[in-house]
């Protein structure tokens, strides 16, 4: 037992990732074998990533600079696909719509999730609420969109209620271009709310009770506790969720494909991914579609970079305080 114990201490002293065996001669042989194991262990995922992600990614960069119908010889056209895309009114409409969806759904969705998570944390029994809020997350986006299509019918329950309450004509959610985009936003918030609630609730529960207790003894009220303790301590998680939510709202497709059948009415809810899909699989324009893909990638990178730049101002890390 004691020689095992000394064997245990050795690797702790060294910063090695794995424990070296005791004798040097065996060490080198074992190490060599071990290195091979390393490659073998990452092998399947490395192969899959190379073939199914990196290769297609490189190909999309190449195809964006080429003209190709999938059959005959590929010909280089330089940035022609991009200049054509930037002159395409549909691309701009897709970008604007996608950004509107992101800018509307991310702050509202995360804000609601924070409020609900804070409220849930103070309840004695919350299982039922958690299940209700999370139910849309386990439902496929296609089913969600179909269910909401019924909610948004001009002669449906939502429109009629609004018409009766406000004394206006029943809104035609999915027929009116502006309302259709709003409908897409509502469905997006509704279906992703539960995920963020669950994550924020877990984050709130990770806050040490002693911190809250100390603030309370100092006389902090409920609002003060939220504003000065809970929210700052939760902010790294909120920030991370906002990055993920922004990226996923830039990828909106299922909802506009199903809810307002084919990004209608008249492309009013066309998003970038729908644009890529439509060019590639509706019109079989490989080059322009690939160019649009690259534009989506650049947009994603730029927005994520902006968010990471902004985090210094709004996100509080516990290490700073300590």
């Amino acid at each position: 037992m004691s020689d095992l114990a000394t064997g245990e201490r050795m690797p702790q002293a060294a910063p090695a990732a794995s424990a070296p065996p005791p004798t040097p001669r065996r060490e080198s042989a074992w190490r060599r074998r071990d290195r091979r194991w390393g490659y073998l262990f990452i092998g399947p995922q490395l192969l899959g990533m190379t073939v199914f992600v990196v290769l297609p990614f490189a190909a999309s960069l190449v195809l964006a600079l080429a003209s190709w119908d999938g059959l005959s010889e590929l010909s280089w056209v330089g940035f022609e696909n991009f200049t054509a895309q930037f002159q395409d009114e549909l691309l701009w409409r897709s970008i604007v719509n996608t950004l509107i969806i992101a800018v509307v759904t991310v702050p509202i969705g995360l804000g609601l999730a924070v409020v609900i998570a804070v409220a849930l944390e103070r309840l004695k029994t919350r299982t039922l609420y958690l299940v209700l809020f999370f139910a849309p997350v386990v439902t496929s986006t296609v089913a969600v969109a179909m269910i909401w299509q019924q909610m948004f019918r001009a002669d449906g329950v939502l429109s009629t209620t609004i018409a009766n309450v406000f004394g206006i004509d029943p809104p035609d959610w999915l027929g009116d271009p502006k309302l259709a985009l709003l409908a897409v936003c509502i469905v997006t918030i509704w279906s992703s709310l539960g995920l963020n609630v669950v994550i924020f609730l877990a984050g709130l529960q990770n806050i040490s009770p002693s911190v809250i207790e100390a603030a309370r003894i100092d006389g902090a009220g409920a609002w003060r506790l939220f504003r000065s303790i809970r929210l700052p301590l939760l902010s790294p998680i909120v920030f991370f969720s906002s990055v993920v939510a922004f990226i996923s709202s830039l990828q909106t497709f299922d909802t506009v494909y199903v809810l307002v059948s084919n990004a209608g009415p008249d492309n009013a809810t066309r998003t970038i991914v729908y644009h890529i899909y439509d060019l590639g699989f509706g019109k079989f324009q490989i080059g322009p579609s690939s160019a649009a893909s690259v534009i989506l990638l650049l947009l994603t990178l730029v927005i994520t970079a902006i968010q990471f730049g902004a985090q210094k101002k709004f996100v509080h890390y516990e290490d700073d305080a300590a």
Partner: protein, 313 residues
């Protein structure tokens, strides 16, 4: 990308047990003593009132789907706002079930999800273990590359991926969903690395000193201790695969090969404008089983989602 935030990336932030969310009492802390009992009850009532409104907004669309699915077409046309079906009918369910191969779609979705989950558990925990514990040349660079690929939206590769599947002859075949699904999941690798890092090193050290091979260490020491992580990963991957839409949409053409969301979307295209009671029955057929599974396993599912959300999703 997520590495800039140590507290999120740090393996210790991923509790290996399923205690991430205390669903009831344990997470509840009594308010400060200065608050009277009556006031506390009032604030609890207010909180419940607020949450009931939110909960209703969540449940109402599902409820409306169910009510609509039991209504006859004449009732839907005559009085679209009536709440209760009159008479109640199961015809929509029978017609929807008979019109398209829902049973087949369920089988397809189930076996695709099962294979992708099982395969991902193996490949991702292997890679996660290697990145966490084995020293080999290029490990760091490769791991950063794995992380970087997470920044590429999957949709960017849609067209080349489709062309690649054409080359492989996998278009209109489940192979196009299964093989890339289980072999290329950088997030799963990242998550499993986090879970391995949270295990004590002492676990494997004795075996290493004894000269045990890495495979034996992985298989009989690491994997059994990774169970909570594997459970979390299965749930996340299963949900992802089950609900996937864009890639199946472009890759599959034969209705008998369709997954549940794909068949549902095709069904809507066919019958959507004819009878929306029928469409709601189809929606119910494709959502209710998942919701039942969720309610049964809610504790585990919610904790897994929280763990993955805190760990980098």
């Amino acid at each position: 990308m997520s590495l800039t935030n140590p507290s999120l990336v740090d393996g210790t932030q991923l509790p290996p047990t399923d205690s991430t969310i205390a669903i009831s009492a344990p997470g509840y802390r009594p308010r400060a003593p200065r608050t009277g009992k009556g006031k506390r009850r009032l604030s609890q009532t207010l909180l419940h009132a607020l949450l009931v409104v939110g909960g209703l907004a969540m449940v109402f669309p599902f409820l409306w789907m169910l009510l609509t699915s039991f209504k006859t077409l004449p009732q839907l046309l005559k009085d679209p706002l009536s709440v209760l079906p009159q008479p109640w009918t199961l015809d929509n369910y029978a017609d929807a079930w008979n019109a398209v191969p829902f049973g087949q779609a369920y089988l397809n979705s189930l076996y695709i999800a099962a294979l992708v989950v099982a395969g991902t558990l193996l490949t991702a925990s292997m890679a996660g273990y290697a990145f966490a514990r084995i020293r080999f040349r290029g490990a760091k660079v490769l791991f950063i590359l794995f992380l970087a690929t997470q920044m590429i939206p999957k949709q960017v590769t849609l067209i080349p991926f489709y062309l690649l599947m054409t080359q492989l002859g996998w278009v209109d075949s489940h192979l196009a969903l299964i093989v890339p699904g289980l072999l290329a999941n950088p997030f799963a690798v990242f998550l499993m690395r986090q879970f391995v890092l949270s295990l004590p090193k002492e676990l494997e050290e004795a075996a290493i000193v004894d000269g045990a091979g890495r495979w034996r260490i992985f298989w009989s020491i690491i994997l059994p201790n990774l169970k909570p992580g594997l459970a979390a990963l299965s749930i996340i991957v299963a949900l992802d695969v089950w609900n996937a839409f864009l890639f199946p949409l472009v890759l599959l053409n034969t209705p008998d090969l369709f997954t549940v969301p794909l068949l549902l979307s095709a069904f809507q295209g066919q019958f959507g404008s004819i009878n929306y009671g029928l469409v709601m029955a189809a929606s119910a057929i494709s959502t209710i089983p998942m919701l039942i599974v969720f309610v049964i396993g809610q504790r585990r599912i919610l904790n897994s989602m929280a763990a993955s959300g805190l760990g980098g999703r």
